[in-house]
């Protein structure tokens, strides 16, 4: 048959009355969408190359560019919709796995949007966060079953020694994004913002670039299946260590950083030869069972002389509650659970969109299970996977998470418009790229400021909502599902989430 290119996804409309042919768009588009014709002093656009990142639209000084969806339609078909057809066409041409970036975009139910919060009325005063202290400080790490005190002296003495803890000024951390998947400037911005806010960012499996060592008090270093860039200094640089078993966007599969992205800097950071593919195996080849994980946890604790919390990150899958229980019993000080909507720099579309469970259900069942087993205090739970705003955060915490990880939201704060083309390495916003021409577009001063603003804004909103509930410390909300009610959820959803339906009183 005839060669059949997939229809373009976007249409670029250029208002000729407004276009001054300044060529800013021509210079800026890494996908070479725009071109300038000197003969006619006109700028042309090739919509077929557009990924819909909106950089040109944002930067055009006259607002001459509009990126719209291609109105061209296939015949309406609920089953064989346009995306399905396009994917088949693409695969028929390439014979390959379809790749994508960011988190699952399928319309699975978003439970956050079916959960509502409580507020005080009459019987219990709400608290004004602008006038009264409102505490978001959160400690991540293993808590003892009880504290033992010695009352023999005049003042009581603490007999129990606490395990190492991470102190968060707000219960939001930046989730694992490796140097490699994102640019060094993006890493720096996350690190600096974490420092300014008093929280942590996570190296992902990209190792720690030498310029990032100075941010180590706010760094969680990750140990993943590829063990890239893992060495003594690396482990010691982290405030905590996270063993990555899985990721919400691609549970059960490994990672792949193409060789062309493995620049000199990345090669030295990851400790792999320049230009070679960085392949993270699907499993850790030294972890084939829970007792192997225990060994790795304790090996890392030994290596860092029990001075840092060691946690484990997994993707939320069907059996998540027993798995987390096992991980806690294996000695993890915190467990990060990444739901199906968690982001990625590159993943097979089919995996991203079809594997794993929503984070809301995962947190609910894990928290409940750990409490029933009496081990909830032994590890902190960090929820991750597509949390979009402070309401999602506060609901996650009320469901039982100690803190939450944000990745996508942080990227959006830095400029990302979710074009899902991270895997191409041509990110116009200078985030998911290593091209020095593009990475300089992310000025860490600006990005840091924006990240700090985002966390400040969310923290303020959380305080407002807490105050409204008459609560002045985040720990009084953590796991406090009485403050949640479900709207439009089935009985079994409500049961799994451990919340009552809206309308039901205490």
């Amino acid at each position: 048959m005839a060669k059949r290119p997939s229809p373009t996804e976007f249409i670029i409309e250029r208002d000729d009355e407004k276009c001054i042919a300044c060529q800013v768009c021509v210079r800026m588009c890494s996908n070479d969408v725009h071109s300038y014709d000197a003969q006619t002093d006109t700028v042309f656009s090739d919509s077929g190359k557009c990924v819909g990142c909106h950089f040109c639209e944002t930067i055009c000084p006259t607002g001459a560019i509009t990126i719209g969806r291609n109105p061209s339609e296939f015949k309406l078909n609920a089953n064989w919709n346009a995306q399905v057809i396009k994917n088949i066409i693409k695969q028929a041409e390439t014979g390959g796995v379809l790749l994508t970036g960011m988190g699952c975009d399928k319309p699975y139910p978003i439970y956050w949007d079916h959960i509502v919060l409580n507020a005080s009325q009459v019987t219990n005063p709400s608290i004004d966060p602008l006038r009264e202290p409102m505490e978001l400080c959160t400690y991540i790490g293993r808590k003892p079953d009880k504290l033992e005190m010695d009352y023999s002296k005049k003042e009581p003495q603490l007999k129990t020694k606490l395990n190492p803890q991470l102190k968060l000024e707000t219960p939001i951390l930046f989730s694992a994004m490796s140097y490699g998947s994102i640019s060094l400037n993006a890493c720096k911005s996350l690190a600096r913002a974490a420092g300014e806010i008093g929280t942590f960012y996570n190296t992902g499996e990209g190792g720690l670039h030498k310029e990032l060592y100075k941010y180590s008090p706010n760094t969680i270093v990750q140990v993943a299946s590829g063990r890239f860039g893992v060495h003594k200094e690396y482990l010691e640089a982290g405030a905590a260590i996270e063993i990555k078993i899985g990721q919400g966007a691609k549970p059960g599969i490994g990672g792949h950083l193409p060789g062309e992205k493995v620049s000199e800097e990345i090669s030295s950071t990851r400790m792999i030869p320049q230009g070679t593919d960085a392949l993270s195996p699907a499993p850790h080849h030294d972890i084939y069972s829970i007792e192997d994980l225990k060994q790795l946890i304790y090996a890392l604790k030994e290596a860092t002389r029990y001075k840092k919390p060691v946690g484990v990150k997994i993707a939320a899958v069907h059996n998540v509650a027993p798995i987390v229980s096992g991980i806690v019993r294996a000695g993890a000080d915190f467990v990060a659970i990444d739901g199906i909507r968690g982001g990625t720099g590159a993943a097979p579309t089919v995996v991203r969109d079809n594997v794993g469970i929503p984070i809301e259900l995962a947190i609910a069942v894990v928290d409940q299970r750990l409490r029933e087993e009496g081990i909830r205090n032994q590890a902190s739970i960090i929820a991750a996977g597509g949390l979009r705003n402070s309401a999602d955060v506060i609901k996650a915490i009320a469901l039982g998470a100690d803190a939450i990880y944000i990745g996508t939201a942080a990227l959006v704060a830095m400029g990302c418009s979710l074009c899902q083309s991270c895997y191409t390495g041509k990110c116009n916003w200078g985030i998911a790229t290593q091209d020095p021409y593009l990475t300089k577009r992310l000025n860490p001063d600006i990005a840091t400021r924006r990240l700090v603003n985002l966390l400040r804004a969310w923290s303020l909103e959380i305080k407002e909502m807490l105050g409204g509930m008459g609560i002045n410390a985040i720990e009084s909300l953590r796991g406090n599902r009485e403050q949640l009610r479900g709207v439009g959820l089935s009985d079994i959803d409500l049961e799994l989430l451990g919340i009552k339906p809206a309308g039901e009183a205490w």
Partner: protein, 166 residues
């Protein structure tokens, strides 16, 4: 005697030795979009309207800054308004002067005769000949009347910033 004192205080207070702002270039963040150039051109056009400046003014207005680009490095360069400004010393007409308030090195166009001495001595090469028909120079004036020069204001990546001299 009082008069002398007044005069002395006038000299002492005279202008640019106070805290002044300067444009600082941070080439590591310059994207090379040239929006600074676009806005500079508009600011120094007759209409100050971006579409008219580009589409309706002839001769085409001239930006007062230069964007240099090579490989992945780029930066916008405009007059540094040097403290020890060689152009000021080289100007044979007194057309180039320092604005006492802002410390900007400015050119009084009706004094300038276009001898290009300033072009010869400017080590940054940021003084240009006017190409709009006058035999005078063309240089950055820190956007007289604007609180922040337009190149700084419109730089999308803060690669040019306007900061108080430390």
């Amino acid at each position: 005697m009082k008069k002398i004192k007044n005069q002395i205080s006038k000299i002492k207070n005279s202008g640019y030795k106070a805290k002044l702002k300067r444009i600082i270039i941070r080439e590591e963040y310059c994207m090379g979009c040239r929006l600074c150039e676009v806005y500079c051109l508009v600011q120094h056009s007759r209409t100050k309207n971006i579409i008219k400046a580009y589409k309706g003014e002839y001769p085409k207005p001239q930006p007062r800054l230069i964007v240099e680009e090579k490989g992945q490095i780029s930066f916008a360069l405009q007059c540094r308004h040097c403290e020890d400004a060689p152009c000021l010393e080289a100007c044979i007409t007194g057309a180039i002067y320092r604005d006492e308030k802002t410390g900007a090195i400015l050119c009084e166009e009706n004094k300038c005769v276009g001898c290009w001495m300033c072009i010869m001595v400017c080590p940054l090469g940021v003084i240009d000949r006017n190409r709009e028909g006058k035999k005078v120079i063309s240089k950055c004036d820190l956007c007289i009347g604007e609180e922040i020069p337009v190149c700084v204001k419109n730089c999308p990546n803060e690669a040019i910033v306007y900061e108080e001299k430390k």
